[in-house]
Structures are given as structure tokens and as C-alpha cells.
Amino acid sequence: MQGLRRYILRRLMTLVFVMWAILTLLFIVLKTLPGDPTAIFVDSNFAPEMIAAQRAAWGLDDPLLVQYGRYIWNMATFEFGQSFFQAVPVREIVFEKLLNTWAMVLPALVIAIVLGAVLGAMLGWRRGSRGEGTGVALLLALRSAPSFFVAILLLMLFAYQLRWLPSGGMVSLDNDGETFLARILTVDYLYHLILPGLVLLSREITTPALLLRSTMLEVRNSDFVDILRAKGLKERVVVTHAARNAMLPLVTDVAVSLALLFEGQVLLEIIFAWPGIGRELVTALNNLDYPIVQACFFLMALTILILNFIADLLYGLIDPRVTYT
């Protein structure tokens, strides 16, 4: 247990260090690259004194080190400032967008894991059959296909040609749920979730399916499966026992693929006009709304780091063979 606690502590310190490094990198990028974010705001007819006053008000005349310290402190306390375009604190905007992103990712991921695990177990059990060959080839193709084009294809077919499903958004315009929960506890939301959910599913199902297939191959040949058979258990029951043992590596894999998925989220949210954090980032970049850009980037990076952290921990907790030194 002592070792475990030390391990967790060390991983947490790495997380904080990496987050700090990323924030510093972002600060350097925003400060040194040509193009002054404030120049966009200040109209050219402004008097020089007014520009100077505005710069002073924003604290842009302070020494760089002071600005840097203030920036790190604000990020660490989730104080993202005021949006340039909407007169609201950035915090109110971005946390809601982050929730919206989870509202797309989480349901699709849960279904993908369950379906993928079952599919993978079945494929692994029927090793060598023709069905297995085609199944694996299809999974590999889906895994490497650019999912944003898959999204475009589904959109063309189901939203524009057949007109069965909405082409974008998280809820209809007349759905005026006040809170996040009021909005997602509707059929309307599920209806909007189908298409982006299918795209996510098509990609995310491949990881658990391929993984479980290969672990199942190993488990299938192990002694305890023979014993179960010798006991006279039905084949279906034997598969369940084997699958449970093949499940271990899946847990960490899911957390890692969730982290990767967050990056691709930008594309899907743009295509399906989903009001998530990735789409907010692109909108803010196009509006040059830098407080929002910083906040979105920070939250995305933090989410990915935390997911990887959880993956590392689970890996150790589930597999007793892993020791912490």
C-alpha cells in the first residue's frame, strides 16, 4: 500500500508538472508569435491615449514575468476572465460546453465498449472462420478510416437524402431546457445524438473488439477453460468465463482511447454543429476571443491528462502483477 501511495503521488506530480509546462508553452506561443491579440480590438481610429489606457487596464504593460505569474495563477484557480465578445465570464461558457462534449462522448463510448467487447469475444472464439476474417478486416478499415469523412457520409445519407435525422445541433431550437439536465433528459436530445453517436461508435468499437479478440485467443487455450468444459458446462457459459479473464487490458485501453478521442472531437462537433468545447475553440479562434481560446485549450489538455492518469492507476489496480517501485 505504501508503494501504491507513493506511486499515485508521483503520477500526480507529473500531471501537475506537465500541465504547467503546457500552460507555459501556450503563454510563450501567445506572447512571442507575431500578431498582437489586442490589436484586433482596438480600432485604428482610436486615439493613442485610449489604446494605452486599454492596454494598462488589461495589464499588458506589466513586466512579462508578472503577466506570466498572473496567468498561471488564474488558470490554476479556473479564473478565465471575461469573454471579449459575450459580456459573460468565460467560466460560465466553457464549463457548459465541456458538459455538452461529454453528453456526446459518454453514451456512445459506453455502448461502443459493451458492443465491442461482445463482438471481440465472439470473433476470438471463432478463430479461423470466414466470419472472423471479414470481421477483423472491417474493424481494421473502420479503425484507420478518417472519421470526419464517415461523419460527412452519414450526414449526407440520413440527414440530407433520407431526411430521417437532424443534420446538426444538440437539441432543437424550440427545446428551451433551462439547465443542462433539463436539456439532455429529452427524446429530442437522443434524436440529435444518433448520427454523431454512430460515428463515434464506428471508431470506438474497434479498440475493445480487436483487443478482446486477441486476448480471447490466449485465454481460450488456457487450462481453466478445458476444466470448465470437462465439468460439462455449456459452451455459452464457458465463453462468459473466458471473456471475464480477457477483459483486464480493456480498462486501461478505454481510458487511453478516450483521451485520444477528445482531440478528434473538434472535427465531429464542427460537422454536427454540436455546441461542445471543440467547436467553441474553433469559434473563439475565428472571433479572436483569446480568453475563451485559453480556457478551452486548458480544459481539453487537463481532461486528457486526467484520463491518462486514471488509465495509469487502473492499470496497476486491476492487474496484481504490476508492482510499484
Binding site: 506537465v18 450526414l155 479562434l285
Partner: protein
């Protein structure tokens, strides 16, 4: 004499790679597709009937907007009257240039870093590995979007950004490989013979990790192609160079998904086939490098 045997074995390896690829139906089909794309990239611009940004006018000096596929325009035209087939041919070159350059760059950088970190453990390794941690923590697409929105977007910048992210995987794998290699007897023998550490590293250790590095070239091509397409699709690509991502961006913004399938499908399908083919060939090569994956 020894030079000669080396050449024979290398030739034999190439044959073996070719056979491994061809053993799968997916591998041979993928290989054929890759050849087609290389041909497109090589001769595309000379074969293309029109320029990638050239508006085509009819007899009455009106641009031929959103024309369906015909004998003149095999894949129709865009809303600005540009020939889609020509754009597609020009785009193949960009996709392959970005893919190959970013893959080579990232593998070169990653292999070098991995070699140094693995061979000179201790403080060098510690520092390099912290940088790898940071590289793994940065979300690529969001970071690239922020940088590109501040600097002028260009193909060169995109390649540099991809390299700045992709080296991390190669570096990690090569490092762990070097960690075991440096304990082998041949390294001791080289040291006993009086070779300098750098000479041992580059002349005796490096050749042993090269096959593994090449695997990451193939993976890198895929990542490079996809990154360029994704950035261009989001409108953050090089606006002066016609790529498949840019075609999709134009089509998406013009609402061609509702009306002009001939404008949306070709770039998307080419992109998908290129990426999937690279992946399939990579898998065959991986099986050759990593014997544990070989069919039992």
C-alpha cells in the same frame, strides 16, 4: 565479400516484406492503391486537364458552376466553376508530400532522441523523458489550431507541427529498444576494442533499431496525411495549396453535401483509401519486424 552478402540479405528482406504484404488480400489491394496514389502525385499535375484554382467558363463567358459529372468534367465542377477531377489530382501530391515529409522528419527526430535517451541513461534520459511526457500531454489538434490562427498558415508550418508531435512515439519505442541493446555483448566488445561512445551508438546500436524506426515511418505517413486533412478541413490549412482537406472544407461550407455529391465524395474517398491502405501495409510490415504478431 562481406559487402556482397549484406546486399543479398537486404534484397532477401525486401522480397520477404513484399511476400508478407501480398499474403493478405487486403495487403495486395492496399499496395496497388498506394502505387496508384504515387502515380497520381508524380504525374497528376501534368495529366490534370485544368488548374486547381482555375475557373472554367462556358461559351457565354459564364463560369460553369456545380456541373454534374460529364465527358468534359469527369467529376463535375465546384460552385466557383473549378474542375473537381483536376483538384483531386493536384491534391494527391500535397497529401503525399505532407505525409512523407512529416513521417521522415518525425522518425529521424524520434530515433535520434530515443537513441540518446536510451544509451546515455541518467540525467540525459531523465530530461528527455520529461519532454516526452509534455509532448504526450499536449492535445495536437487544438494546439495546432491555436498556433496556425496566430501565424500565417502554410504547408511547411503544418509539417513542422506534425513533426513536433509525432516524434514522441518513435522516441519512446526506440529508447526502450536501446535500453536492452546496450547491455548486449557486442556493445561490450566494441567498447573493449576502444571505440568511442558515439561511434558505438551510431555504428553498432543504431543499425539494430532501424527496422523498428521504419515501421514508424509508415505510421507517420498516415498521421501526417490525416493531420493536414483535418486542419485544412477546419479552415486552418494553407489556402494557396489545393489539398483534399481544403476541397472538403470548400464543399462543406458551400453546402455541397446537400446537392453536389461529386464534389464531396472524391476527396473523402481518396483520403480514406490512402489512409486505410497505408495502415494495411504497415500491419504487414509490423508482422515482419515483430515476430510475435506472426500468424500462429
Amino acid at each position: 565479400m562481406s559487402d556482397n552478402t549484406l546486399r543479398v540479405s537486404r534484397k532477401w528482406q525486401m522480397t520477404r516484406l513484399f511476400h508478407t504484404i501480398m499474403r493478405y488480400p487486403s495487403g495486395s489491394v492496399a499496395f496497388a492503391f498506394l502505387l496508384v496514389f504515387f502515380a497520381m502525385a508524380l504525374i497528376g499535375p501534368w495529366v490534370a486537364p485544368y488548374g486547381p484554382f482555375e475557373t472554367i467558363y462556358d461559351k457565354d463567358e459564364m463560369p460553369i458552376r456545380l456541373a454534374a459529372p460529364s465527358a468534359q468534367h469527369w467529376l463535375g465542377t465546384t460552385n466557383h466553376g473549378v474542375d473537381v477531377f483536376s483538384q483531386l489530382l493536384w491534391g494527391a501530391r500535397i497529401a503525399l508530400v505532407v505525409g512523407v515529409l512529416s513521417a521522415l522528419g518525425s522518425v529521424l527526430l524520434g530515433t535520434l532522441i530515443g537513441l540518446l535517451a536510451g544509451y546515455f541513461s541518467g540525467i540525459v534520459d531523465e530530461i528527455i523523458m520529461r519532454f516526452t511526457d509534455i509532448a504526450y500531454g499536449i492535445p495536437f489538434l487544438p494546439f495546432a489550431l491555436v498556433v496556425i490562427s496566430i501565424v500565417q498558415p502554410s504547408i511547411g508550418l503544418i509539417i513542422i507541427l506534425v513533426i513536433a508531435f509525432l516524434w514522441r512515439t518513435t522516441a519512446r519505442v526506440i529508447r526502450s529498444q536501446v535500453l536492452t541493446l546496450r547491455e548486449r555483448p557486442f556493445v561490450l566488445a566494441a567498447r573493449a576494442a576502444g571505440l568511442s561512445e558515439l561511434a558505438i551508438l551510431f555504428r553498432h546500436v543504431a543499425p539494430n533499431v532501424l527496422p523498428l524506426s521504419f515501421l514508424y515511418v509508415a505510421i507517420g505517413v498516415q498521421a501526417g496525411v490525416m493531420s493536414e486533412a483535418a486542419l485544412s478541413f477546419l479552415g486552418f490549412g494553407d489556402p494557396n495549396v489545393m489539398s483534399w482537406g481544403l476541397m472538403l472544407n470548400d464543399a462543406f461550407r458551400a453546402g455541397a453535401m446537400r446537392s453536389a455529391w461529386w464534389w464531396v465524395l472524391p476527396p473523402g474517398i481518396c483520403l480514406s483509401i490512402l489512409v486505410i491502405s497505408t495502415f494495411m501495409v504497415t500491419r504487414a510490415y509490423e508482422e515482419l519486424v515483430n515476430p510475435r504478431l506472426r500468424k500462429r
